[in-house]
């Protein structure tokens, strides 16, 4: 079947099997391999992308469900000249990633969290990111990065 959606601001389309999951549509059909698969059970959040600005775990939804929607993946965050988004910069400045495998999903989930809750404190960040697992950082620096990004972004994405 033909699936069409706007991905990172660009209209994209591909013919895929009906059962194609959103994450495989992004990775295999569109070549956007920044979004990772970690668990297949929507437990780890490595596959988190934004659908119309809200975070969705792309490994357990069908691509066809999102025909016509606007998807943002990790590749859509940095500027065209490669300038990192303030949240990405905060992750680097706070050493909030090590192996980097969970990072795309963690960044997208954090972005959605900051967007929806402009006045996060540490507890709210920890609870808000409950659905995204990281095995390297112990979350300490991820929490710091999200709080730092929130104050820098001043509530604006």
């Amino acid at each position: 079947m033909r699936v069409e959606m706007k991905v990172n601001g660009v209209a994209r389309a591909a013919d895929v099997e009906d059962r194609t999951l959103l994450v495989h549509f992004l990775r295999d059909a569109l070549g956007l391999t920044g979004t990772n698969v970690g668990c297949d059970t929507s437990s780890c959040g490595a596959c988190t992308v934004l659908v119309n600005g809200e975070s969705v775990k792309s490994c357990t939804v069908l691509a066809a469900q999102f025909s016509g929607e606007e998807i943002t993946t990790i590749e859509g965050l940095a500027g065209a000249d490669g300038t990192l988004h303030p949240l990405q910069r905060a992750f680097q400045e706070n050493h909030a990633l090590q192996c980097g495998y969970c990072t795309p999903g963690m960044v997208m989930a954090s972005l959605s969290l900051i967007n929806e809750h402009p006045n996060l404190d540490e507890k709210a960040v920890r609870e808000g990111l409950e659905g995204n697992l990281c095995r390297c950082t112990g979350y300490h620096n991820i929490v710091k990065a999200v709080l730092a990004a929130q104050s820098e972004m001043g509530g604006k994405l």
Binding site: T41, T73, I74, Q92, Q98, Y101, G138, I142
Partner: protein, 791 residues
């Protein structure tokens, strides 16, 4: 010169990681991200039974699925192997090592054991076809419990007549140990169980093997932490010349020891790519990763301490059962040996006895997992020290003070036979106690008890020392390990003064590129941005022993340090020649040689690099180009250490344990990049806390793994953990020129005993003396009920 006398002001700074922009932008390439036109997809059919005879296999229906290329049984591929899958650590000459091939042929020996490999042009076709493979099994009785397995009441490998793979001991003075126990005023005897843990790197394993269109050569892309060791082992096992194999580890998404292995799927992809003359790739799903990627821990420990009335420990005796699982993987039998010398912790204990029995079970093979042997040893001694303190009515901090190896005894010859390089344990513990506000915590604890508060407070101390920097090759030889412990490095200043560093250690999240560029920038006086770090590709870095055991910086970093200094010494010869002065009249600072007393006469390294390249005017006999290669073999292990304090709240109503605070004061010697050091500690703490509170690979009575997904296996999220309070002390290691000790495993080693000690501390006044791992609310609640029933 030590790193403390660093030249360039780069070492010791919190430099941001150069790895990050690509990872943050989604541009980094993990193995499954690689686009490989024409690649076939392999999917595994695995035994659902823990122990079963394979009666018959029918692949007929599978072969009918459009796109399927083949479905291969162990018998089909028997001719592909020059030998069985490798175990590189035959710890004893009589160690029993069952034949282990990539696919089980007659008997499947754990749930997840591979039986058929299906290959198709698309992943979905391979998945569909695998579901149509019909295997007829005859279920055999599974041997699951470690202690039952050790009793040999049922034996997995009939030819062996026992489930024991080996027995290994270190007991330099048996009479001394016996006398110490005979004469002891107090004896502590405790039993601890370490559940099996699932390493759960966030990136599942992925492999792709691409045959060259000419010359029978293969490029192996693998999410491995050991590209160099993997190349040797693939060559030996698949019968391919090592020169025809190039192994590349792309970005690797975490490993923690679980990718320190040679896996069936790596061999199958290689053999099938050779047979089919097409690229073959495999990516495990999480449900496979939990069963078919190695597990960690899995020990039952008996530890005894003999002490005098003042709490001075005179002897330690440890007897360990270690769960090997169904087969011996790359270093499975060696894991307990990595802890075998450390059951006395960082205490000055004159008599030592350790015995370990490695035992087969019908479960996933175990192997190295963060800390590998050392978390187990640390847990045993640190729990036992608390029990001793409790018996004698001594504060847990005080019992440790009384037993620490005194600072003036370093280098310290331990009763187990190691030489501890450096340490100063007392001030390290005092710093942790200060940071925690120890006496105020004790007051709050007493206040809660007195007030009958339903929430109890527990304070757990854990002091640890580990042996890292794996490893002196001769020592590895003495321990029967099948390889050396050196590391290789090349430092090359190119004609334009850009610098290339080639390292044999293979990062998977540790930030080697950043740290290695800092070391070289510091030594050569060039900007770190001008230093390129090349790694994880055997065609670029042909020699290496890879990354594990907190070895990369102390061994690999030392190789780089020495190579950089060799480059400087060669450059000095050229500068002296061209400036027409003696070498000793030159001083090297900020990337330039200056004539002492005539600072206007100088020659920068950049100019020397070009002179070395043109070779028009070099000293007689000096080779062109500015490059040095070093293979560094460490003279000893390093001994990182630290004091960790966990503060927990235990809800008496529900048994729920909340980790309120975690204080860690670590001594990893000199630090190259404190930001990266802290990150390593954070992650390690999280894994050790997870062992104490959340994680356990649980099997049902049939031997089926019931925690086979991340929905069932509780890797903690941010919501289950607090922020951590870190500090450090520094006793530089004399073992290496950087003065570093390693930090990759420290957090995971110190934390599980700190948390369990805190829980037992909270419940101690009720009569609770031990707490199983993981300390789930149900288990803690039961402990509370039992204790209250006894009161």
């Amino acid at each position: 010169m030590s790193a403390a006398e660093a030249k360039g002001g780069v070492i010791g700074t919190r430099k941001l990681r150069r790895e990050d922009p690509e990872l943050l932008a989604g541009k980094a390439r993990f193995a499954d991200d690689l686009v490989i036109p024409g690649a076939l997809y392999m999917v595994m059919v695995r035994s659902p039974f823990a122990h079963a005879r394979i009666r018959s296999i029918d692949v007929e229906s599978a072969l009918g699925v459009p796109g399927v290329v083949g479905a291969y049984t162990g018998a089909d591929l028997a001719g592909e192997w020059a030998g069985p899958m490798p175990c590189a650590w035959p710890v004893t000459p009589d160690m029993k090592n069952p034949p282990h091939f990539p696919l089980a042929t007659e008997v499947a020996r754990y749930a997840g054991d591979g039986v058929v490999a299906v290959v198709a042009t698309t992943k979905t076709a391979a998945v569909d076809a695998a579901a149509l493979v019909s295997v007829e099994y005859e279920e055999l009785s599974p041997v699951l419990d470690l202690e039952e397995a050790a009793s040999d009441s049922e034996v997995i490998y009939e030819d062996f007549g026992t489930n024991a793979s080996f027995v290994w001991s270190v007991e330099p003075d048996p009479d001394g140990v016996r006398q110490a126990f005979d004469q002891a005023a107090v004896v502590v005897s405790e039993r601890y169980v370490h559940p099996r843990l699932i390493p759960a790197a966030m990136e599942p394993r992925a492999i792709a093997v691409v045959p060259s269109p000419m010359g029978d050569e293969y490029v192996v892309y693998s999410s491995t932490q050991i590209p160099h060791i993997l190349r040797v082992m693939l060559a030996l096992t698949a019968g391919i010349s090592e020169t025809k194999l190039r192994v590349v580890a792309p970005s690797v998404g975490g490993a923690f020891g679980s990718k320190l292995d040679v896996y069936a799927e790596e061999l199958l992809c290689l053999a099938l790519a050779r047979r089919l003359k097409q690229p073959v790739r495999f990516t495990e799903e999480r449900g496979e990763a939990t069963m078919a990627t190695v597990h960690g821990r899995g020990q039952v420990q008996q530890i005894e301490l003999a002490a005098d009335q003042d709490g001075k420990v005179l002897a330690v005796r440890a007897n360990i059962l270690a769960d090997m699982g169904a087969y011996l993987q790359l270093v499975t039998p060696g894991v307990p040996l990595l802890g075998a010398f450390l059951y006395h912790g960082l205490y000055d204990i004159p008599n030592y006895s350790f015995t370990c029995k490695g035992v087969f079970t019908n479960k996933t093979p175990t192997d190295a997992y963060r800390g590998a042997g050392r978390p187990e040893a640390t847990f045993a001694i640190e729990r036992a020290m608390d029990t001793l303190a409790d018996k004698l009515g001594i504060d847990p901090a005080e019992i440790r003070r009384r037993n620490f190896i005194p600072a003036d005894k370093f280098p310290y010859s331990s009763a187990a036979g190691l030489s501890f390089d450096s340490g100063n344990y007392g001030p390290n513990l005092e710093k942790a106690l200060d940071l925690a506000g120890y006496s105020a915590l004790r007051e709050e604890q007493a206040r809660r008890v007195a007030a009958g508060d339903s929430h109890l407070l527990g304070i757990g101390i854990s002091c640890y020392v580990e042996m890292c920097g794996l490893a002196p090759s001769r020592v590895l030889g003495a321990l029967s390990y099948g390889a050396g412990g050196w590391e290789a490095a090349t430092v090359r200043v190119l004609p334009t003064a850009k610098v290339q560093v080639v390292t044999g250690s293979a990062p998977h999240g540790q930030g080697h590129e950043t740290s290695w560029s800092m070391i070289v920038a510091d030594r050569l006086g060039v900007p770190p941005e001008d230093v390129e770090v090349l790694h994880s590709d055997t065609s670029i870095s042909p020699l290496g022993m890879d990354t594990y055991g907190s070895r990369s910086l102390s061994v690999g970093g030392s190789a780089i340090f020495v190579a950089a200094d060799k480059v400087v010494e060669k450059a000095r010869k050229i500068a002296a020649h061209q400036l027409e002065v003696a070498e000793e009249d030159l001083e090297f600072a900020s990337g330039s040689f200056k004539v002492k007393g005539s600072p206007d006469r100088e020659m920068p390294l950049a100019g020397i690099a070009f002179e070395a390249f043109t070779a028009h005017n070099l000293p007689d006999g000096l080779e062109p180009n500015l490059e040095a290669s070093v293979t560094w073999d460490p003279p000893n292990f390093t001994f990182p250490n630290g004091s960790h304090i966990a503060v927990v709240d235990v809800d008496q109503e529900t048994g729920a344990v909340e980790l309120l605070r975690y204080i860690a004061v670590d001594d990893c010697g000199n630090q190259i990049n404190p930001m990266i050091v802290e990150g390593q500690i954070h992650g390690g703490i999280a894994q050790g806390v997870a062992q104490a509170l959340f994680e356990e690979a649980s099997y049902d009575s049939e031997g089926t793994l019931v925690t086979a997904s991340l929905a069932d296996y509780l890797v903690p999220s941010a919501a289950e953990l607090p922020s951590f309070e870190l500090a450090n002390t520094v006793t530089p290691s004399p073992t290496n020129p950087l003065g570093v000790k390693g930090i990759g495993e420290a957090g995971a080693i110190g934390s599980a005993p700190a948390v369990i000690n805190a829980i037992v501390d909270a419940l101690g006044h009720l009569g609770v003396t031990n707490c199983p791992m993981p300390a789930t609310p149900e288990r803690v609640w039961k402990l509370l009920q039992q204790a209250k029933a006894h009161k």
